[in-house]
Subunit: 341 residues, 4 copies
């Protein structure tokens, strides 16, 4: 019997992506679709690419509307998930695409987000050591941030194997604009972003910084220090993360380490040596493309990973976690096939 | 009396940009315009944006055609400049936009370029300590590579002031596609690059790597080690370089250091603290926008700089050097005004 | 039992798109994958988005390799399909994505293509009156050109209903760059197309012009005259066709006509009145989004349609036709869900 | 002595473009720079490309601030210009980049804009028959809309020569996003516009429709009927207008007509026969690139023109008009050189 799922925040990019994936998922049927200020509108006017749902009218995001589903996806502005989640039955699988339940360290929450700390939920990155087991059977899951997903997957094999100095990690990640959401802002206008690359949240101030550190600390006892710089580049989807850290191993050793680490992961695709990731190859897919080498002159391992920030970076991860939580095969309804060109 | 200038390689992006700038330069008149396989064609069919020169027919690139000018700009494929330059009179100012004469270290040339080493010319980055004096009055000038220009200008203040550990420099630079030239290649097709960010030349293999190191070594006796990763992002012009290195200074100290270093440079524009560069702001201009901060948690200084790879990154630098070589005011015919949005 | 299919020209955009769709088609298994100059290479290096096929080596495109399949898709340069098709068994379903067999009028072939006229095959636009029946059971099918597909579907309801003067049709269609193929050309470089809109093939000279006329002539006995202008705009996929013709009906009458015509078509999605198509909504999908109104001041009906030139415009149409030819449900393996943003 | 000019609305795209052009204009000095809600902010934070003005603080847009200048440019939201203009001295040259004073027909104003009709000013398209004389010496000038500028210049030679049937004109114009302004709206987000072409204002409802008709009516006594469809395509600047009308002349006759009409216009650049306009060639320039042919099969003349909507389409036209109003050479401070690639 198909599971009945609801999507809250269906007018935004995260909610839209979850719906896109659910529409072709063989084990679910789509129940309530809700929004905040867009409640009452046709989904077809807000998400015209979702033709099979074009005639659906958006409900208001309330506990009443969301109750009675097997799974509830939350694609809400930060700070709104806790109230909803608390009011839903304990056995409803609640999957939060927001940041409210990602950080395990309250002081990091205070520094980077502020407001009341809501605690943390099982962290929805199955590829990160130990998480897969925690997600299976969980009824509350926090979907990781898009930058932490790609940065963690790029660095985890090296950190876990102890082949890099984790006190000198540098991550520079170029993101498409959809990661910034659908709320209209001048700096996100097409006129501003087309033809322009820019940096923001520089100097360790971006909210995803402590999440990257938190993830890597699960893999080592050494002092993890990450310099993280996000860039905005002119494309709607995709993140390319360039990650490096001091190392003494050779390029071949590094690659062999990554081969071992990625071998059994259905969505982590280590490219053949010499081929480097491009975000276009993962657009629409749940795959992460990874490559690694060592710059012997500089003495650094360099790993590059590409992800679709809305798919594996948000909505795809959410569906992957739902599969695990429901005991379905992890890859159900997900693909490693990208849309190119 | 106006100087008579020639441009060889006028059908390419470097040559086209030099012509664009020369057209509004008050002290020159444009003489020969030459090309290789496009000789005999109308410039208007190859560079339709250069309306005042639309009716000019491209000559073939030969010493005979280029002789008799006060200044000759070379925008030729690597390896072709030496022969031409040798045959031109010693007192003709020859400005090479290619890589042939940039590297002072023959072994670096052998490793990264190969073929016969042609030696080195005064290096056309006036902002780099000592170079302005060498360029003034020179008759042979090597225009820097676009990545080295922006990376050097981003890092030079910190390196010269000794406030960073130069053995741990990391540069990740996102470039538009025009840096790869106008020769048709599948991976540079619009269908491939639009919507995609990708890495290439990873692991210290890009040809601009030794040039960056060479520049920074002029500023310190310490062992400079640079991890350089170039990215291709979907825009025609512009490079955004994110540069970092270990430091112990504060953000304010770092900014003050940059203020002092940039104060007298007409084309280096240090943004107000907190404002980060965007390539769009420098498109078409000779300005470099720079910002710096310190990530105290990670212990790294992070400097970001934006440049138009074709303007200050190539053609603008070439004109700036011409001005110095001819004894004109350095800023003649150049602008710090970008074209946005 | 699954049908065994081969794809010739798998390194190009049409072939890649056919493979992308076949990978999730429940009734086929992918057999031979072939190419011309790229034979011997890994598909993963040429189409890195097709992860499940990354390790497949491309065979050379020969009759021997293609024989023994139930279905053969041809994504070859114009003029190469006839020889292959002739050598394949009559009961093999051969679906040609090229232009060789589209035109029923030899003189139009001579004018717009030249070379030997190979004749015509059933025309793979099931939505065009009568074609669905011809395709069902056919073993040779010519996939329509991308511009004719979208222009025909935009205009067919009006022409078939006789509510426009077909002697005054004007079509201006803005296309992404992938329609021009993957062969490297200077004018298709990212540096050239990003930030630019341009016209080409103006004045009725584009090869798709006679195909549009041919299609509309199936719907009326009046003298069809079409002014067709294609534009190149900076996006990788998608065509937006703006089509108009003199009319005397009202906007509501026009819309009602389109409602009736589109009601039973699974892939033609008439938007609610007042909502206009955007190509982003159909990217990756087999849907065509259509809207219509009447400009009473100008006295013209204006219909706008959006299509993904590679999906419904090429590869999706090819799969749709395969479904019909094999007696499968027409929508098998195809979707109306687009990828946005 | 230099004229003192003020720019109201300097935080928007029109105001920013006027400033960009004034900065290199030899006969003006920039006085007051004003804004509405951005008053009090640094221009450098709003228009970071205008480096020489980075430290200027925006004044509030009031009559007091604007008084005392020789020229005042208004880049204000529709409806705000009339009050300001009325309060400024009669001999101040007031140049309005908005729509308030463009339409000579009050009923057209009522239909397309509504609100109080403010009357009309001399129309700032010097190339349109008779306007140059009216602008010279005027102290109130209405800068044309961007679509009317390019459409009028594309069609005027044919209409004036009487070689087309003006009752059957069709204009489809693909515009970059900056034409829609800098106010944040969801549909103008980079995530929405990149990778997408869409139609809007279809069916003669766009506000520029009556302005195009008004212009062409100056050139003929016949009944002008224009079907105008604007498209939004993924680029920040530029409009490409594809214009057609029934004709009986040949392509060569049409071209000869355009040659005569464009010969003496400094900013109208008729391309060599066979070369078609691309918006990239006119970015940043005041030039309009035009080409024309005849589709004899369809019986229509097709003219295509490209313009930078912010330059010749707004700010450049404003400066061109200022030059005429002040008795300066018309081309002062303006260029026909575009920025490409």
């Amino acid at each position: 019997m198909k599971r009945r799922v609801a999507v809250a925040g269906a007018s935004g990019y995260a909610g839209g992506e979850v719906l896109r994936l659910l529409l072709t998922h063989p084990e679910v049927e789509i129940g309530a679709i809700t929004a905040g200020s867009n409640a009452g509108e046709l989904l077809g006017s807000l998400q015209p690419h979702l033709v099979p749902l074009a005639d659906r009218v958006l409900d208001e995001t309330t506990v009443e509307v969301l109750a009675g589903h097997d799974v509830v996806f939350l694609g809400l502005p930060h700070g709104q998930s806790a109230v909803i989640a608390k009011a839903l039955p304990d056995d409803t699988v609640v999957i939060d695409c927001g940041a409210d339940f990602r950080l395990t360290d309250e002081s990091a929450w205070d520094t980077f987000y502020g407001g009341e700390y809501a605690g943390s939920w099982p962290y929805g990155l199955p590829e990160l050591a130990g998480q897969r087991g925690l997600i299976a059977g969980a009824t509350r899951i926090a979907v990781p941030g898009c930058y932490p997903t790609v940065s963690t997957l790029a660095l985890a094999p090296a950190v876990a194997a102890g082949i890099v100095d984790v006190s000198g990690i540098v991550v520079v990640a170029a993101s498409g604009t959809s990661g910034a959401g659908k709320a209209p802002k001048t700096n996100l206008l097409g006129s501003e972003v087309m033809g322009s690359a820019s940096a923001y949240g520089v100097g360790g101030t971006h909210r995803h910084t402590p999440e990257i550190t938190q993830n890597l600390r699960l893999l080592t006892d050494d002092d993890v220090r990450v310099s993280f710089t996000p860039l905005l580049v002119p494309m709607p989807r995709g993140i390319l993360a360039t990650c490096s850290a001091p190392t003494t191993v050779s390029a071949d050793e590094a690659y062999a380490t990554y081969q071992r680490a990625c071998a059994d992961e259905p969505f982590v695709h280590l490219l053949p040596q010499g081929q480097w990731p491009a975000t276009k190859s993962v657009v629409g897919s749940n795959a992460v493309h990874v490559q690694v080498t060592v710059d012997e002159t500089a003495g650094r391992l360099v790993a590059v990973a590409a992800v679709d920030n809305l798919a594996k970076g948000t909505g795809g991860a959410a569906v992957q976690c739902m599969n695990l939580a429901l005991g379905l095969p992890e890859t159900t309804g997900l693909t490693t096939i990208g849309l190119a060109p």
